[in-house]
């Protein structure tokens, strides 16, 4: 490690950074200046001295990852992206929090170069950083497990800046416990302990001993107290030393508790809640500038020597990447097969022959879609080494264990049931659904692998903020949600999803996929893996349901359509017996069988019903208007939707004359057949609703 260098110009750059932050908030009139001001030295240290990053290539495989968990302090990052030459310029800072700018209120992934993750909802950033660190380790195991620690081109660090709010949120507790359990030596968190949140002094609600708590999680904890002398001294060298010490600890994640004064050195608002989330005001801003020797009359001033100095980061980054590339090329020559795999993964491609690898399920048998999913994962896992995942303590229920896979754990945490090592592919989240969601997001954001996490559909509620963030970022996180209706049975209403399917469908950009039988499940997985434009949740049954007898192509006569139609979101599974539907029955998942049975009953009465299986309304919405009209012809106004959940949303598909077979109240504890009967999720109810709808047309 090189001797620490920190010159006068670095101090000037740091002061410039904090004044730019204050100026930017002042200009737009709102925002969060305080933390950006006091975190400027730490952020500058990371971006200019510590992290291995190349401003000119934000996708560099070997880069250290940076996560700003205190997303409200987006200026902490924006200012460094500007100073370091990542693509932001002064005008971008001036456009903070305005329509169309590259500098929105919170950092947005895919919007601003150099931003690795969208943050803002507190706790999510630090929780996802654990996923980044998981991914870095798994990736190394996939591509370069033999090389000595620290010597592989796949070795890099994950840095995260978290705040008081992050550490109060439960999701960070869950993820931090897992990080310690996993001994993630590649994860370094700087906790900005400024003791101020919106309700001012955090002592009003947050007096726990964070240091001790993180030690209890098996983290390596250090304190860097810039207030320890009584005067406020931004001792960056001490912080750098702590970071170096953290890097040296390879079997624990590191928490560096950095005691700062928020908004320092604003003359009267430093160390108050006021400076957390509001502009300083002209006078306070002028006072700050004076305190730092800047001209109080001027805004957005960056001296030439400062920007010239900080932009050296670009050349430095290029050089670092060039050095790394040598190592990487050496690795590539020595590992041609692994390089081929990496190329495929980087190209976002599935292996050749993936369709052939998919299991085919024999018609006539009864198979739960979770069991089908488990088989599919086994088959996919065999040809996709980059695929990994697991469950939040429901492995045997979710059937999310890739057959033959080892657990991803330090080997000493192997148990009687599960054997593993640091490079295993089976994830164990414990009973921590929220962290699972955030960690899956982190894995996916880190890139170069495909990951999934499972729980019961009801517990999608526990992980909803993480699911929403995946959708907002449009990243392909995969969530496996089994036990997808009241057919969960005896565990009763606390465990039975009612509103979950419909309410997940409302999250913009989330694909909700609910296959109707085992073969739809296989095609659903394939489609989910092929798509990379956003997250998907696959909803699977606990109970066995029939595997439909199908033909090769579209439905016609009594021949059911091929399951490959799943990719279109909704399709005619069974055509009206005479080819001209009197009524359309639209169903999803386990309720499709009821529609199929109802079609038979109606046929006997001379009513021609078409059955539409609708595994994903989102995928269906993407199809051409012609295709959609061909599945749901507007002339056929008699329609029935069938789904064992709330009706909300189905009116859009069934129209004024339509009927919905649904459950709009909580469930109950009993065997699922009783529940379906008592709650009217039956073939008879579908038939009656069809007649009713026909009458209403």
């Amino acid at each position: 490690m090189a001797a620490f260098q920190w010159d006068h110009i670095d101090n000037k750059a740091v002061d410039t950074a904090r004044i730019l932050a204050a100026d930017a908030v002042e200009k737009v009139g709102n925002g969060h200046p305080g933390t950006a001001m006091s975190l400027a030295p730490a952020a500058y240290l990371l971006f200019q001295k510590v992290m291995r990053r190349d401003p000119s290539d934000d996708q560099w495989l070997g880069r250290d990852r940076f996560i700003l968990s205190v997303g409200h302090s987006s200026l902490t990052q924006y200012v460094q992206l500007y100073l370091g030459g990542y693509g932001l310029e002064l005008d971008d800072l001036k456009a903070l929090r305005t329509w169309g700018s590259l500098t929105p209120g919170h950092p947005e992934y895919g919007h601003t170069k150099g931003v690795e993750i969208t943050t803002g909802p507190l706790g999510q950033g630090i929780a996802s950083s654990v996923g980044f660190a998981y991914a870095a380790r798994f990736e190394r195991g996939l591509f370069d497990p033999e090389t000595e620690a620290g010597q592989s081109p796949f070795d890099h660090f994950v840095y995260v800046i978290a705040g008081d709010g992050d550490l109060q949120e439960g999701v960070s507790s869950e993820a931090s416990s897992l990080a310690g359990h996993q001994k993630l030596g590649n994860l370094i968190a700087i906790y900005d302990s400024n003791q101020i949140s919106i309700e001012d002094d955090t002592n009003i609600a947050f007096t726990e001993d964070v240091n001790m708590r993180y030690e209890a999680y098996n983290w390596h904890v250090q304190v860097v107290d810039w207030k320890k002398t009584g005067e406020y001294v931004e001792d960056v060298e001490a912080l750098n030393a702590a970071i170096e010490a953290a890097k040296a600890v390879t079997d624990q994640p590191s928490l560096i508790i950095l005691r700062t004064i928020i908004g320092w050195p604003a003359p009267s608002k430093q160390n108050t809640g006021k400076i957390h989330g509001s502009a300083l005001g002209a006078e306070e801003l002028a006072g700050t500038k004076k305190a730092l020797g800047f001209d109080p009359e001027k805004s957005f001033v960056v001296d030439d020597d400062v920007i010239a100095h900080t932009r050296l980061a670009v050349e430095r980054g290029k050089q670092e990447r060039a050095d790394w590339t040598e190592t990487f090329d050496k690795w590539a020559r020595a590992n041609p097969e692994r390089k081929k795999l990496l190329n495929r993964v980087l190209a976002g491609e599935l292996p050749e022959g993936i369709s052939e690898a998919l299991p085919q399920f024999e018609a006539g048998k009864d198979v739960s879609t979770r069991a089908a999913s488990g088989k599919v994962l086994g088959a996919l896992g065999a040809v996709m080494p980059e695929l990994w995942g697991g469950s939040s303590d429901l492995a045997e229920s979710n059937l999310t264990t890739i057959a033959g896979g080892k657990s991803f754990i330090p080997s000493e945490h192997s148990t009687g049931e599960w054997k593993g090592n640091e490079y295993g592919r089976v994830l164990h989240f414990g009973i921590r659904e929220h962290a699972m969601g955030a960690i899956i997001n982190g894995i996916v954001l880190h890139g170069n692998t495909r990951a999934f996490g499972g729980t019961f559909l009801i517990f999608s509620d526990y992980m909803r903020p993480a699911v929403r963030l995946a959708a907002l970022m449009a990243v392909p996180s995969i969530f496996v949600w089994t036990h997808d209706s009241i057919a969960l049975g005896e565990d009763g209403p606390t465990h039975q999803p009612i509103e979950q399917l419909a309410s997940l469908r409302m999250i913009p950009g989330l694909d909700v996929v609910r296959p109707a039988d085992a073969n739809e499940t296989a095609w659903a997985w394939k489609t989910i893996l092929e798509r990379r434009n956003g997250p998907a949740g696959i909803a699977l049954t606990r109970q066995n349901i029939p595997v439909f007898e199908r033909g090769e192509g579209d439905a016609s006569g009594e021949t059911f359509a091929s399951a490959s139609n799943v990719a279109r979101g909704a399709y005619v599974l069974a055509e009206a017996p005479n080819g001209t539907p009197d009524v359309i029955l639209i169903a999803t998942g386990s309720e499709v069988q009821l529609a199929v049975e109802a079609r038979e009953t109606l046929k006997a009465d001379g009513i021609n019903a078409r059955v539409v299986s609708a595994p994903s309304l989102e995928w269906f919405a993407e199809q051409s208007a012609e295709y959609r009209e061909s599945v749901l012809p507007s002339t056929v106004r008699a329609r029935v939707s069938v789904e064992a959940g709330v009706a909300t949303g189905w009116r859009e598909y069934v129209g004024d004359a339509g009927r919905s077979i649904s459950i709009d109240h909580f469930g109950a504890s009993a065997d699922y057949k009783t529940l379906f009967r008592e709650f009217g999720i039956t073939t008879e109810a579908v038939v009656a609703a069809a007649r009713d709808s026909l009458d209403a047309v």
Copy 2:
């Protein structure tokens, strides 16, 4: 404290309890026997020796509260409710997990006598137990603050049994941190550390030091290790001593880490994941019975001496209540005013003159509904001492601070901004929305006060599992959700609700209330407080919106209807100019003003538009068919809904010919006027949609 008594008959009763649990699961064929078997001694100790409860009066004010956070182990509680004479009988145990039984898969509040809270979703029970403990302290402050500690009829303990799963969930971390902060000496948690969850040995995912973590939260932690000798010895005396020690610690909550062997003494399945969630099977069950000296051929056997002994709890409970009643009556005589208040609160009544106490807001001004809400809370707080609440670190944004109220904190945690004491009424949850939800539920379940908790609407996602449980229990928790649309503005898409309103409406039994102006806000609060049949969430604007000029009664001509109509859920705010609507504009919250403006524009073009304000679709659904038809006449098929969120759900109200002004994608970071314009939430858009709908009719 009396000497600890534990006789042979107690051991027999405990063994009977564990065999009943195993028998009950065996009979239905599914369930969770393991924990119920190994927790039988602890549960028996609590119900028979420790807790002050009266089996014949489950509403007794002075009772100790019991929360089974490990809800899956419902038999732990059911068997004690049977043995202790709380109303369950053997036939109820035999009916476990079947349709209509008193013994559903998880304990359900309001369904089975003696069950204080519905549990099952892990972490919720222990998090809500913190709310119970808050409520006990606040209640004491309200009714009997002067009496010496331990001497008041309002002094009682809150006992909770939690498991490995509970302690992994983030919500319990959040709540536990608050419990330590609050120094809740009245809270005693027994943590059943059996080291087994569904994925078997918890070491696979849970190796943190729980003891140290709870010490970091400022809990008093004890370990009772029944495995310490190498042999398994259920040392109930040691557990009792730990409970007594916990009771003696009055300035910290207590965690008793009880190391047990799950499923003990099942011969081969004890200490495995198998016995956690599945029936033992005939052979294993027989082996268990043999090990305990029970007849392996018989099921549901309870010897007469056992039940005679355990049912003594009924007489004991009556005596305890009689003793308590003396103290209580003495208190009542000495505190006639407080007794009057208690009577009113117990009767579920609001104070007289509540309508007069409500602030009236002057028409013509612009007031945000959050500001109006803040004023209403001040006014209500002045006449309702039982009303308390606060925010998860957004007090100044949510405006949830009851004016003049002190903070509910140990006084030494007072800060520069907030002064408080143990009996204050302003709650500070820190940045812990999920715990806030669970704690509010606990407060409400404890009873005798009214409580609310606030955050941004977007963060309702963080607390959703707690909100759902409130709805499932049908308890009147109140959630204040401000910043209820993209009009939150510059903070951008991570903070802007889009799908939240619609998706909360899907939770059965939750009232979502979104007032259109300041006066609707006042009436919304009144209506929420009057109703006690379930939870409500009130969605409030950040931005200022007009206070409508209104008449006294219904709308007619150009006179707008009175805000008192809010209680009907939806009402005609402004009648069609000619009294006969061509088109109906239905809007909620801040978007009602757009409908009002559109009505004017349309009027100029000779189109008669009626404006319906729909603050609560749930309340509207409760009205008579006649009333609903009068507001939304079926003959008027041209309709437009206006809400700055997803359209999902509105088709139900606007029909096939209707149009919805909505936002079906994520928001963006900019000032809210720009966002409304760019996203088409404008008067012009409403007008255009009205014309469009008229064309479609």
